[in-house]
Amino acid sequence: MDGLLFRSAEELFTRHATPEAVRAIRAGGPASALWGEIEASGFLEALVPEEAGGAGIGPPEILPVLLAAGRFALPLPIAETMLARAALVATGETPPEGAIALAEPAGEHMARLAPGQPADWVLLPQGETALLLPWDKAEPDTDASSALADLLRWPAGTGRSLACPDLLAAGAWAEVAIMAGAMERILEDTVRHARDRQQFGRPIAAFQAIQQQISVLTEDVFASRMAAQLASVPDGKGIAGLNPTRIATAKLRVGEAAVRVCAIAHAVHGAMGITEELDLHLLTARLQVGRMRFGGEAHWAHWLGRQFLAGDLTETLAFVRAHLGPVAPEATA
């Protein structure tokens, strides 16, 4: 099943999310053509239950599609829209048409969003509720914005308040999936470059220093993929069964990996990797953005450490088995 979904997502993105299309949208160009294709694929209804007209599939099954989105550095909130639609349906709302970006609160009617990633709506968490805000009513705060985040502000009184908890952890899950996918593509590109690029009369892949670095890169990419899989086990009370303990674990592990992955990939690519022309920076920039969205390593590590100390299980392995195993605890009983 997930092999099938992955292939159809890869096909869709190969055709419509070409590096040129990605660059154009990031530069502020229209996204409606690509978004239309994604909408037509049905992926965006994945997490909405069947009885509410969705596909009713869970996070583990849809993960491959998000990994594929990461591989293409897709500059559209595909995971976020899936989550927002599921969250809105769960509160009895009919989701509005179009792309919904998940935001982090950044002050009164202020939202922090992934840069260069347009949407039609913004869902802005406010504790146990969330504000649904129209994108076209937003004022960008250019002074507070950067290549790491766009800040948008709305006039007071804009938007509707909805009962929608758990969005921050859900947003972190989306980042984990996208980042793990981006890292897989970075690994493939880095291996290919190391075999093609010649210095001292040999491919640089022949040098042991390069081999050892790419081995470390490989380890981090495999660990990140595993972290994303662990985070997708639906044994929690969040949207579509997402579990914050799993997401905390994955977000911090993937964030740590992203640092090493970016450093090694750039080191191996040399000066070529610093150019606008090469696609590498589309992927590494996505990792740097993702690392800072919905909580970084220190945030989630602190959360997880407190979670452990507040619980009854005093052995770390016992805690991992109970909360962070490869399957939901009921299934192993």
Binding site: V191, R195, Q212, A301, L304, G305, L317, P326, T332
Partner: protein, 381 residues
């Protein structure tokens, strides 16, 4: 390129072993101070191994006809996890149970199986592994210890070193040259079982930097071996050794070597109170543990399916030993606040683990060698 590792789970029938094991360990292990439990699979206690044998927990994966329990690798996985996490002293039987027994089962003759496997299951036969030599480390194919045909059997000369438990084991499985010269590399290597009480075997324990003596130098002078000392085919030693190493690289041994330190520190945080930096560090280590465990289980499940995920196993071992080495490093840092006095047992556990941590990425193949294997798997060499 190597494929992604899908999530895999421990089957419920193997998971079902866990409560009984935990009950047993709760009665037997906590009396041992943490600085001794920190020795993990280097802690030797023949009586403890015999107690496990009485429970039927040695040779879990060997067929019943040889005294085993006929269980799969995941049964052993559950047992190993609990033993290592608690810091039980398992070294006496560990190599026989994990490596030598399965090797004899796979490549040995029926007579060899009937002789050795039941003894391993009863904790009456402890094994050691003679691969390294004074001039043979990472370059294992360069071994010079030699067994030559002599009447019905073999005559053995040479020396092994760093042999864990040689001075307290009954048998060694040695990788030796049976034909050709070191220039022939992996051709002409074979594996033989040596009875360590045989005349001409001289064993000298080597003291380690923490004051223990767990490994030895073993010198062979005209040691006479019977014909049935050979395991598997003559000249198949290289292939057999590599099959053996793939199995031992991805297990809980490569994730849990510092588990006693981690849990001792976490327990102290519970009792004495934790500040934000300590809570953050603890969360980070738990996250690493969770991901590594899932990877290790995924690789084990590939082994169960009869595949040979050599590269994936190398990947888990390198990441796992890095984690094991991270634990003492970061705990030392966080305990080094002026004015803070950590309890003696915790500090002694830290001292031991810190001192031995460099060995985690040497034994079983060094970090650099493993990364070379991964690079080959990725098509770089």
């Amino acid at each position: 390129m190597i494929g992604a590792l899908p999530l895999a789970a421990i089957p419920p029938e193997d998971e079902a072993l866990r409560p009984e094991i935990r009950d047993f360990l709760r009665e037997t292990v906590p009396v041992i101070p943490p600085e001794r439990r920190a020795r993990s699979w280097m802690g030797f206690d023949a009586d403890f191994s015999r107690k496990l044998a009485e429970r039927g927990w040695l040779g879990l994966t060997f067929p019943k006809e040889y005294g085993g329990a006929g269980r799969g690798p995941f049964a052993r996985y559950v047992l190993a996890e609990e033993l290592l996490a608690s810091g039980a002293p398992v070294s006496a039987h560990w190599i026989a149970d994990r490596q030598s027994g399965p090797l004899i089962h796979r490549f040995g003759t029926e007579e060899q199986r009937r002789f050795y496997l039941p003894r391993i299951c009863r904790a009456e036969a402890f094994f050691c592994i003679g691969m390294s030599e004074p001039n043979t480390g990472s370059d294992l194919a360069s071994v010079t210890t030699r067994a030559v045909r002599d009447r019905d059997g073999w005559r053995l000369n040479g020396a092994k070193i760093w042999t864990t438990n040689a001075h307290r084991s009954h048998y060694m499985i040695a990788l030796v040259r049976t034909s050709g010269t070191p220039q022939d590399r992996h051709k002409g290597l074979s594996q033989v079982i040596v009875d360590l009480k045989a005349p001409g075997v001289r064993i000298s324990p080597i003291r380690d930097l923490a004051g223990d003596a767990h490994f030895s130098e073993v010198v062979f002078e005209d040691v006479v071996l019977p014909a049935d000392a050979l395991i598997g085919e003559e000249s198949s030693g290289w292939m057999q050794v590599n099959a053996e190493l793939a199995f031992e690289r991805s297990g809980p041994e490569r994730v849990l070597s510092s588990a006693v330190l981690l849990d001792t520190w976490a327990q102290w945080l519970r009792e004495a109170g934790a500040h934000q930096a300590a809570e953050t560090l603890l969360g980070r280590l738990i996250a690493h543990l969770a991901v590594l465990r899932a990877m290790s289980i995924a690789v084990t499940s590939r082994l169960v399916e009869g595949e040979s995920p050599v590269v994936e196993a190398a990947l888990v071992k390198d990441l796992g030993t890095e984690f094991e080495q991270l634990i003492p490093t970061v705990i030392a840092d966080i305990l080094a606040s002026p004015g803070q006095v950590a309890p003696g047992p915790l500090m002694r556990t830290l001292a031991y683990t810190t001192a031995m941590a460099p060995s985690f990425s040497l034994r079983g193949g060094t970090r650099e060698i493993l990364r070379g294997m991964i690079a080959r798997g990725m098509g770089l060499r």
